[in-house]
Point group: C2
Chain length 479, copies 2
């Protein structure tokens, strides 16, 4: 196996295949989500969806095929997405009169529906989400992180006033942060994207950004405030309380299966997957050791322990194949079982089991009587420990004292020579696209987002021009 | 509102729109699943998916786009599906070298993956399901029952021997029966489809068939035994225990959003939706009555009652809008709230609430102290009552004593003249496609399925030719 240090990208591709999360599909840029990979997505969906419902969001489903003329209604939107669209041009043996796009996102078709459904302030707010497949035909693809077809949720809302729309935009960003940190154990930085990185057609785009173990950033979720731009394009108007026909304010927000990629690149190690218990397909694997085939009481005990865990809703697996224990240990480390439990003849005699968490070396000897309680606590502890470890790595790789582009270049070079990560850099920015472009050209770093007020110590000078900074931005290489 | 008696089709289309389940989409034959419509699907998904998991099924996700040459590998399959395929021919501004079909079903792409993944008997059985959108560009469409894009699950399995594959085929048909009868309260007839009605490429297709209130049949779920046909087409071979490379035996099985259509056509009435509590988006609507705005204690009590129900996991809504109670009653009858609870000043004084189930006229006066318990029991009672009522209608419209095609024609004509339903007819069949075609031509009835042994009294003579019957079939008009 390639190590992370040797070649992070190669390590990533090897790991997700050996851990049986995915396979390549016959059409370029597409992957198959194998059961373990898909189950991680199911746990992410459950966590997101239950929180959405608490926030008053209702699910719906809109058609995947979008008529070409819909895209032309919002100029920025079509400019942003046109280069990546696949088109259906024939069906049932006939050429279509109008091309139909495979949705890259659904603002247009949902905007059209909102235009029909919303007539009065009584119809607002409208707060809808859909879980769906979407398509972006990109040149460079990477499993989970950037594929031609991917799975996501997209929330779409309409409101009677800008304050409420903005509050929804920010609230959903908070929900993303809660789930990505609380369930995926990935620490994130929240902030606003710069205008050049905005969603095509948005007035403001906000993101949560996560740092991978190679120091690169993954945009882990976005929330967009559209103002009245889509309402104007799709005629989403309502009669307000003053009896005037006015445009609604809309938002949209999404997370996708790229979270699976971020999850792997955040926690996993050279032995394979490390998964937070909250999303691990196997939370506890139970393995008989020693000459267990000769003593049926061992497997019986293991089955009894499994039953205790199942009763608590813990996802378990018994590995009673004929392989050597060492082989099994490696296999379940590769596949990211959160905890491993071993029971052999001596353990049975002592009425204890050995418990080992995937992310630490130490083993615990646990009395059968305390077993289920210990496992539950250990799963919780591991969940917190992974978030803490990721946060420590994140904090160890941020740099806030780089003031000029020359310093940034020197920083990157010295880190590279030392075999260390250049990490993320907090920088002043004069607010121009030219400065952003120059940073990218000279360093490969791009603006990730502008932290919200109070989150960081603001920089006063632009890292490129030395002019007064309009904003303070996170800079990093990104996936 | 049109009544069922006046025009069943018109009643159906009006009902699903007034109840806010769907809207038409801009692309022909497509619909939007609005939140109440989609929530019914979510409850169906939950019920199916949890049972699948108990049966050892794991979810995965395969790409939607299927290369054209995949379809050509199984001759019957391409013949069956080619006429309905939409094709992607361009993407990202370029013409594709090979056309890509929007999946109508995934036997081909999953067969290709199974061919790669399965090498040894140790890899079997492989038991996988996916929840996905699929496309069939059909000429005549009907919301939920037949749309260009629809949502479904498709299970795909591979086995080392025919017995195990057949057992899986039958087991999943049983699961469908359990959910459709137990959760959707739709009684079904199980059986095998005739060869002309088989899934394209299957050796045997089994179905559950439901009778709608207009007497027509809906095929509510199918399970297919493929033998080695797809294994041969996609080279799904494994090394068996005798060290021989042999083909695997495969199955597939699916239910779709057409179940929503079947649900409406089974239970709903001229006042709107009637939904089994298990899938009703609103199980209990609580409505304050009398001069409730003047007495805040009424709404407070309603909120307290709601809290009790929520604690039991019951889906509730309070309607405290300013509309008249009569208006609200009609509205929630239209939308299919299972139970309605009224609390007014006198009820508050008596410490009681009025409870009315959607499907019966009688009202119950229930003491607050017994409220939550009563509601739970009443929901269960209503669930059973709907299944019972549907079964009675089904049994009242089956005819088992029609022996010739002339008698069948006379039966249909006399029922039509009496304004009654021709229903379903159990008939002997000589096993020829010619007889099936003649039945359809003369009566519009088609073979639904061949009941399993012991389910019906077998017929001895073919209804068309009078020759000895090879099988006994259900005949009906169908959606």
């Amino acid at each position: 196996m390639t190590t992370r240090k040797e070649d992070f990208s190669k390590w990533y591709l090897e790991t997700i295949q050996k851990a049986d999360l995915m396979d390549y599909a016959p059409v370029r840029g597409n992957i198959i989500f194998k059961p373990d990979g898909y189950e991680i997505w199911e746990h992410i969906q459950d966590a997101m969806d239950s929180r959405f419902k608490e926030e008053g969001v209702r699910n719906a489903y809109f058609p995947m095929l979008i008529p070409e003329h819909f895209f032309n209604k919002e100029k920025d939107h079509i400019e942003g997405f046109a280069p990546e669209l696949p088109w259906v041009t024939e069906a049932a043996g006939e050429k279509l009169e109008e091309r139909l796009a495979l949705r890259p996102t659904s603002e247009t078709i949902i905007g059209d529906a909102f235009g029909k459904w919303i007539n009065s302030y009584r119809d607002l707010p409208m707060v809808i989400n859909q879980w769906a497949n979407v398509f972006r035909w990109e040149k460079r693809t990477l499993p989970f992180l950037r594929t031609s077809e991917f799975l996501w949720q997209e929330g779409h809302t309409a409101h009677s006033n800008p304050e409420e729309a903005m509050a929804r935009t920010m609230r959903m960003l908070d929900v993303y942060e809660e789930v990505v940190e609380g369930v995926l154990a990935i620490p994130v930085f929240k902030g606003e994207k710069t205008p050049s990185e905005r969603f095509a057609g948005a007035e403001h785009t906000y993101s949560i950004e996560a740092m991978m173990q190679d120091g690169k950033a993954v945009q882990a979720g976005t929330s967009h405030y559209m103002g009245t731009k889509f309402a104007e394009a799709f005629d989403i108007k309502f009669l307000n309380m003053d009896n005037e026909h006015v445009h609604a304010y809309t938002t949209s927000w999404g997370v996708s299966t790229r979270l699976i990629g971020a999850l792997i690149m955040t926690h996993s190690d050279d032995q394979g997957l490390v998964l937070p218990p909250a999303v691990a397909p196997v939370q506890v694997v139970l393995i008989p050791v020693g000459p267990w085939q000769k003593n049926p009481a061992i497997l019986e005990k293991i089955e009894a322990l499994q039953a205790e865990l199942k009763a608590q809703g813990i996802r378990t697996r018994i590995d009673d194949t004929d392989e050597r224990p060492g082989f099994k240990f490696n296999e379940w480390e590769m596949r990211g079982a959160a905890l491993r439990v071993e029971v052999g003849p001596r353990d049975l005699e002592n009425q204890t089991a050995i418990v080992k968490a995937r992310d630490v070396d130490e083993k615990h000897t646990v009395a059968f009587d305390d077993f289920a309680q210990f496992i539950q606590t250990e799963l919780d502890t591991m969940q917190s420990r992974l978030l803490e470890a990721a946060r420590e790595r994140q904090q160890a790789h941020i740099y806030t004292d780089i003031e000029t582009l020359d310093e940034l270049e020197a920083h990157i070079q010295s880190k590279q020579e030392a075999g260390e990560l250049p990490g993320w850099v907090l920088a002043g920015w004069d607010g121009t696209e030219e400065s952003e472009a120059l940073i990218k050209e000279r360093t490969g770093f791009t603006t990730r987002n502008i932290p919200f007020d109070g989150m960081v110590e603001p920089k006063t000078r632009c890292i490129v021009t030395g002019q007064p900074a309009k904003a303070t931005v996170w800079l990093a290489r990104a996936y």
